[in-house]
């Protein structure tokens, strides 16, 4: 295992920076230090087009005074640079005339995920070779594959968090990912297919998974759609394959259970704790400590341990997701969901790995007992309006279900629904849970890595946005 090192700034310096931040008073101050390096390689049109690498270091300082947060960041990690950022962040406390506070820090070690091979220690030529293998595998699937692009990416993000409660901790987050996208050409035009792989681990990812299989899956998806017919227009029953549709859960209720939406009364789930908000078959969990999934973290970006939080238990809403600021106001602990894109951003409530737990139904029976509907095998992105609960997500591989059998492929379309309504309409949940691929969740202009998962499930009716008459 690789030794992690998360002391980016000496604790004594951080202590003085926090004291400076609270010089004019304030309820809470925090320093977040980050050192991130990343490598990205893209292959496109048979060529390794670009190998890019970079490193960024910096710190974000925030000061909370009453209802107001002041924030400033700097790329200068010297004591002088940090003190200047602390003073800028403290400007919000200027008029309040509060009293200075001294801060003492106590180190709390975190447990970063196990990494056996740091990507930075692997020769670039080896990474390039993976892309070539994927390109060959995708093109060998069929002569109809006319274009292939593939991407390799790794990142190492070391963070250190200190706050005026005395917390001092850190994490070393290593992520590795791989993706392949294909274009297939046929008589009726072109179609696309993609597949990706990603884990919060190092280069050992490629000992566990084969890039050829990722490529073959992307190619198969594009080829399948060459004979696809238009998706239906209107309300239809939908069966969603395990591990493909986590994004449905992420959009239908995940975002709506983030406490920042709750405290602003801009979520359909506000004030509904203890109520039945979904089918009794639904148990929803967000788990930052889950294996080496894409949203895994030892601590969140406020220094709180990632952990398993049950949000919906057998249909009943049991809790929301919390960051430090909202939890403080509500007089409860953070749930480890305070995250930020980088030191240049303020943290907010974010999901980690969000999933629906397995049920008891045989997935084959779920399809067989659906006389007419759509089988969704792979989903793209989604979006939600938390205040109304209206959400949508796109299909990238879907088929008609006719007489309980999966038949013809369908062209890509968006599905649209209302969160609580769709959750109530889940009438079958399979015993075949799986997580989906690596996801990127965007909120308020910030992107963070997240995981999604779910067993095979059926929604009795959801609006399909295709062009074929119902």
């Amino acid at each position: 295992m690789v030794q992690s090192e998360t002391t980016l700034v000496e604790p004594d310096v951080l202590r003085r920076v926090l004291s400076e931040a609270l010089k004019r008073g304030g309820d809470f101050a925090e320093a977040f230090v980050e050192d991130r390096s990343a490598t990205g390689i893209t292959l496109d049109d048979r060529r390794v087009e670009e190998l890019s690498s970079g490193r960024e270091k910096g710190a974000g300082i925030r000061v909370v005074v009453g209802e107001t947060t002041g924030f400033a960041h700097t790329a200068d990690l010297s004591e002088r640079g940090l003190l200047a950022a602390a003073e800028a962040a403290a400007a919000v406390a200027r008029q309040r005339g509060g009293r200075a506070r001294e801060v003492a820090l106590t180190a709390t070690p975190a447990a970063p995920s196990d990494v056996s091979v740091l990507p930075g220690s692997v020769a670039k030529a080896r990474k390039v070779e993976l892309l070539r293998q994927a390109d060959d595998a995708a093109r060998s699937a069929s002569g109809a594959i006319v274009q292939v692009s593939a991407g390799y990416g790794d990142s190492r993000r070391r963070i250190q968090v200190a706050n005026s409660d005395g917390l001092l901790t850190g994490d070393d987050q290593v992520r590795t990912r791989f993706r392949v996208s294909c274009v297939a050409a046929g008589d009726a035009g072109m179609q696309t297919g993609s597949e990706s792989l990603g884990r919060t681990i190092g280069f050992e990812l490629f000992e566990r998974a084969s890039v050829e299989e990722v490529a073959a899956e992307a190619a198969r998806r594009a080829l399948t759609k060459l004979s696809a017919r238009p998706a239906p227009s209107g309300v239809v029953p939908v069966v969603i394959r395990r591990g493909s549709g986590g994004v449905l859960i992420h959009e239908a209720c995940g975002h709506g259970l983030e406490a920042d939406h709750i405290v602003k009364d801009s979520s359909v789930y506000t004030g509904r704790l203890g109520e039945l908000v979904a089918s009794p078959l639904v148990t929803l969990v967000d788990d930052g400590s889950f294996g080496d999934e894409w949203g895994r973290l030892a601590i969140d970006d406020e220094g709180r341990p990632g952990r398993r939080n049950v949000l919906i238990d057998k249909g009943v809403l049991t809790d929301y997701m919390w960051d430090e600021l909202r939890a403080r106001k509500a007089g409860r602990p953070s749930s480890g969901n305070g995250r930020r894109e980088s030191y240049q951003h303020l943290p907010m409530v974010r999901m980690t790995n969000t999933f629906l737990t397995a049920g008891e139904d045989d997935p084959d029976d779920i399809v067989a007992s659906t006389p007419h509907g759509v089988f969704v095998a792979h989903l793209g992105g989604g979006q939600v309006n938390t205040a109304t609960g209206d959400f949508l997500f796109g299909t990238t591989e879907a088929y008609l279900i006719e007489n309980g059998r999966i038949t013809e492929p369908l062209r890509d379309a968006n599905l649209i629904g209302n969160g609580p309504d769709v959750l109530a309409r889940i009438d079958a949940v399979g015993n075949d849970f799986d997580m989906g691929g690596p996801g990127t969740c965007g909120k308020d202009g910030q992107s963070v890595p997240v995981g999604c998962g779910q067993p095979t499930l059926r929604v009795t009716g959801i609006t399909f946005g295709g062009t074929a008459g119902g």
């Binding site: 670009e50 190998l51 947060t69 759609k225 009364d265 359909v268 979006q383 379309a413």
Partner: protein, 447 residues
């Protein structure tokens, strides 16, 4: 800016024989204020700066960046980019551009008044936006966030082939998200105002738009599925145009990833539709004198009278196609390499105002906003399926609101089925201008 140019020049001057080097240095200062329930929820001030370096040698390109502007970081990025180049495939078209003789438009995109304005003025604007949105209608139940934000950006690109270009610009914006409620129902609306200095910002309009868009959706129901003409709100048209412009990237065309590949000279749209990308128009928010490779931006005609004239190119895509760059290189900042993109796309306006466009349609759907564009529009196949909300048009006028619907067609069909083009052109945030646009024969999926 001189400091950025000096640093970029010093890096480009390091080019060894047989090597081409480009340095892109940028610096930004940003302030943002969020108001909530009459208080300042957050005030952020930030400075960020960095350098991105491209090295081309023997037809191989490498890139590296650093989030700092000191010489040591720049040298490290240069060394790393050199190393990275060794692993790229040989590409006969790889290489940097030299000056092409086109003169840069004299655009003044920097407002000293914004650089000099105080945090107090910005806080006051956010608070006023929050207050005026709440006061705009008794049915406004919540103002989720009222935001002010601005950015002062400077950048310089210098290459060992003689390019030296520096730009700077200021932008500021107000945006507000309102929740309206009546009985059991909740609806949301978003309003904004953008400009280059505080005096450009219109608090009343941002507040009024958010209030109107949320309240007029109250009582919305899910309609029956049907095929009908749609009238796109200006914001929706701008979104659609950005997508269409993306499919006209010469890079995507060359790689066979555009539905318009191989169609130059064909009638790809109705006869009265003309599409232009013109970053030299100072009114466009995407305006800039130089592209990301340091060439002077120019007006590029893409579709004229329904006929496809050509594509957008950066240096590399142009070389692949055997044509000069159209100065359409864009980059997301110092962390990324340039790629092809539009900055200021517009459809030549027609002569009908929004009401007249609706009158032409008679019975249809007015689309106030769309969602799921990133998951529902495929630039290769042209499949188009997005979530929508809006109001029915009956007897040529806005009627009852409808929600939880999707609209679907293909980009190819939509361009061929444009019914009417509005005269109400307005530059919006992003890379396109909006105007009211009517499109026939779209599938609306409801119940």
């Amino acid at each position: 800016m001189a400091e950025l140019v000096d640093l970029a020049r010093a890096v480009a001057a390091e080019a060894a024989p047989g090597e081409e080097v480009e340095a892109f240095a940028s610096r930004g200062r940003e302030t943002s204020v969020r108001a909530f329930e009459g208080e300042v929820e957050s005030l952020s001030s930030a400075e960020s700066a960095g350098i991105g370096v491209r090295v081309v040698k023997d037809g191989r390109m490498g890139f590296a960046f650093a989030g700092a502007l000191d010489e040591a970081s720049a040298r490290e990025a240069l060394a790393e980019a050199r190393d990275n180049a060794g692993y790229a495939s040989e590409d006969p078209h790889a290489g940097l551009t030299g000056p092409d003789g086109v003169e840069a438009a004299g655009l003044d995109l920097w407002r000293e008044s914004l650089a000099a304005s105080s945090p107090e003025d910005k806080i006051a604007l956010a608070l006023e936006l929050d207050r005026r949105t709440r006061a705009a209608d008794r049915r406004i139940r919540q103002v989720v966030s009222a935001d002010y934000s601005d950015a002062l950006r400077e950048s310089a690109v210098v290459t060992s082939k003689g390019i030296e270009a520096a730009t700077r610009r200021t932008t500021c914006s107000l945006s507000v998200s309102a929740v309206a409620g009546e009985g059991e129902q909740t609806q949301t609306g978003y309003g904004y105002s953008v400009g280059r200095e505080l005096a450009d910002l219109d608090v009343g309009r941002a507040a009024g738009d958010a209030a109107e868009r949320s309240t007029r959706m109250l009582g919305a129901r899910k309609p029956l599925s049907q095929r009908l003409p749609v009238v796109l709100d200006r914001r929706v048209t701008a979104t659609l145009l950005s997508i269409v412009a993306g499919t006209l990237s010469g890079e995507e065309v060359a790689k066979g990833r555009s539905l318009f590949a191989g169609r130059v000279g064909e009638e790809v749209a109705v006869g009265n539709l003309s599409l232009v990308d013109d970053p030299t128009d100072p009114a466009a928010l995407g305006a800039t004198p130089f592209d990301a490779e340091g060439l002077a931006c120019r007006r590029n005609r893409l579709i004229e009278g329904g006929k496809l004239l050509g594509y957008l190119y950066d240096t590399h895509a142009g070389r692949v196609a055997g044509t000069p760059s159209t100065a359409s290189a864009v980059r997301g900042g110092y962390r990324t390499t340039p790629g092809v993109g539009a900055r200021a796309v517009l459809v030549e306006p027609g002569d009908l105002d929004a009401e007249e466009v609706m009158a032409v349609v008679g019975l249809g759907l007015f689309v106030q906003s769309v969602s799921g564009v990133h998951s529902g529009v495929n630039p290769v196949s042209g499949d188009f399926s997005v979530g929508a909300e809006g109001l029915m048009i009956r007897d040529g006028a806005l009627a009852e609101p409808v929600r939880e619907i999707a609209i679907a067609s293909t980009l190819q069909r939509m361009l061929q089925h444009v019914l009417a083009i509005g005269s109400d052109l307005e530059w919006l945030p992003g890379s396109a201008a909006g105007l009211t646009l009517a499109i026939d024969d779209v599938s609306m999926s409801g119940s």
